[in-house]
Subunit: 373 residues, 2 copies
Amino acid sequence: MGQLTKIRPAQAGTPEVVLPLGRILPGDCVAAMRSLPTASVDLVFADPPYNLQLGGDLNRPDGSHVDAVTDHWDQFDSFKAYDDFTRDWLTEARRVLKPDGALWVIGSYHNIYRVGAILQDLGFWLLNDIVWRKSNPMPNFRGTRFTNAHETLLWASQGEKAKYHFNYRAMKTLNDELQMRSDWVLPICSGQERLKEGGTKVHPTQKPEALLYRVLLATTEKGDVVLDPFFGTGTTGAVAKRLGRQWIGCEREQGYRDAAYKRIEKELPLDESAISTMQSRKEQPRVAFGAVVEAGLIPPGTELFDKKRQWRATVRADGSLESGKETGSIHHVGKTLQGAPSCNGWTFWHMERDGEVKPIDAARQMYLLAVED
Amino acid sequence: MGQLTKIRPAQAGTPEVVLPLGRILPGDCVAAMRSLPTASVDLVFADPPYNLQLGGDLNRPDGSHVDAVTDHWDQFDSFKAYDDFTRDWLTEARRVLKPDGALWVIGSYHNIYRVGAILQDLGFWLLNDIVWRKSNPMPNFRGTRFTNAHETLLWASQGEKAKYHFNYRAMKTLNDELQMRSDWVLPICSGQERLKEGGTKVHPTQKPEALLYRVLLATTEKGDVVLDPFFGTGTTGAVAKRLGRQWIGCEREQGYRDAAYKRIEKELPLDESAISTMQSRKEQPRVAFGAVVEAGLIPPGTELFDKKRQWRATVRADGSLESGKETGSIHHVGKTLQGAPSCNGWTFWHMERDGEVKPIDAARQMYLLAVED
DNA sequence: TCGTTTCGTGAATCGTATG
DNA sequence: ACATACGATTCACGAAACG
């Protein structure tokens, strides 16, 4: 795991510097970032402590105890202390980012307003705020407020006039040929995806991979370098590796670093063809097959075939198919291969799963059950 | 339209002050709010401007006036000016609010992070951030970013320990018996609701009445006073009148004031019965278990048990329970037997009646019906 | 084997009145 | 100020247990 790569820094005349790709830098993230050269990474994704400021214990109506985030890394003495911390890491992130790089930060109402204001003060330019609408949030057990059912992501460029990357077509493809909106409905991280050690969660705030999948697909290119200053158990690294992006992490806790390395080791990069995203307007899928892919129900790279196994195609990361020279939506590729006037890709294409052959429509049904709100 | 009401200010010894209910105060909102007594309104709803062409609203830190037309400032100056403006009106709003009053602010990513941070700095305590998810947003025509499909509302109390009002039951009822979440899906203001004059919009950012309806129903009581410092064409006033709330507005533009008065004039208050909402049990009269026993609804000697028949207890004549060595209130005995942190005896304990097993809460409901008349 | 029920749990700023 | 008593309050999903 890990490789050292010589990169050419932005300023001419400075010596070549080594970039620790695929490495998790130990210790404080500000110090760690100081060791990285200026203008060397394409994207920063940051999931900083939220400064939750929780009071006493909380019990569910059935009397069971709620396992809260009480870790020391989320404890700050005051807003001032949190602001100083935020300004420090944002400043380093800004230095390390390329001029056409971008920053993502995720947070909740406890911290995101402070992060957003400081980020603007430092010269970052907000491109969007994104709402992650959780399909299965924790309820408000006491009936005291509205159920806190979302978190917020900020997406910012280096400045008002700065360039940035946005894969508009890939996002539109992923969203059933409608423009991707600023509100994303995704489930929280649970089930098989949640890292556990002896039955207990390894990290209290592990993020769902689908979230990172959408962020990286939307705002990076293949081969780009992604830096995560609060790496945790490495969701960013895992998804980056899968999507053919390079990554660097910072993480203070050795336990998290160990878990992350182990997790990313197991992750397999997707095929070149699965990663390539839609560029042409002519290759438009007509349905939200992309959402089913994103949800992990049909992983990119999966081989699809018709019932008679006459035709086959490969699923790509943005929910398009590739079959030889043919690319496009599940419907388009099915239609073209057969030379038919039309084709319902959902029933035409099949996949093998646990030794069983099923139409991909089965995955759509599962997705609908999962995301329905 | 409009009435003058004498209210008793919070501080004893100060003379009675007139509260301009149903009036739109002209001029700058900070000056207008200064004319209102301290701790006199129950709710502030604010939809502040966030373009930086604020003209008369903006002053520099040294007090000098900013002329938006002729002055050229850089990004830092404009943030500073906006922050000063925000701090000014929030400070006045805070003074005018009752100790158990609350504040709502709506904004977009251009301004809401500054507003949120300043609001926290002033001592307001965030209760929720609410996402208004627009069902029909304006598309991003150039395909350069995600479709900006939401706005953000902040709901804050006067402080960490401050009381506030939340009609939990009303919100749950409004949401088909599920807790109301922090993401609200509502259409933008259009069609018949949109005020127009000769085919053109009267106000560029008129908010949908459904948004105010939910805000006022959730966080005010009938008769409460609602202040809107950026009244515009009076959506807040119209919905307040409909729901039987009092209102005060501030608005600089005479054209908007005229349109608002005209609009609110036409608005009809709903019937008393239509306004009344589902009441939580908290607001029902308290019933002592002893009174239910005394009334003969649960005779002394009755055997009580939990749903799984794991525990049992006997009702005594004074309304206490006995279970082995444990004696005490229905709550205390339930709590102690289970070793739980707390227990609601009304729903925990059951009894058999006419061959049916029912929670003893059923007896409390019968008691309430009996004493009501 | 399969459908049904139960149980556990998730970034949560989660009470109020009385003495 | 603090302690005590009363009693109000949950949604979705996945895994395990059950029949």
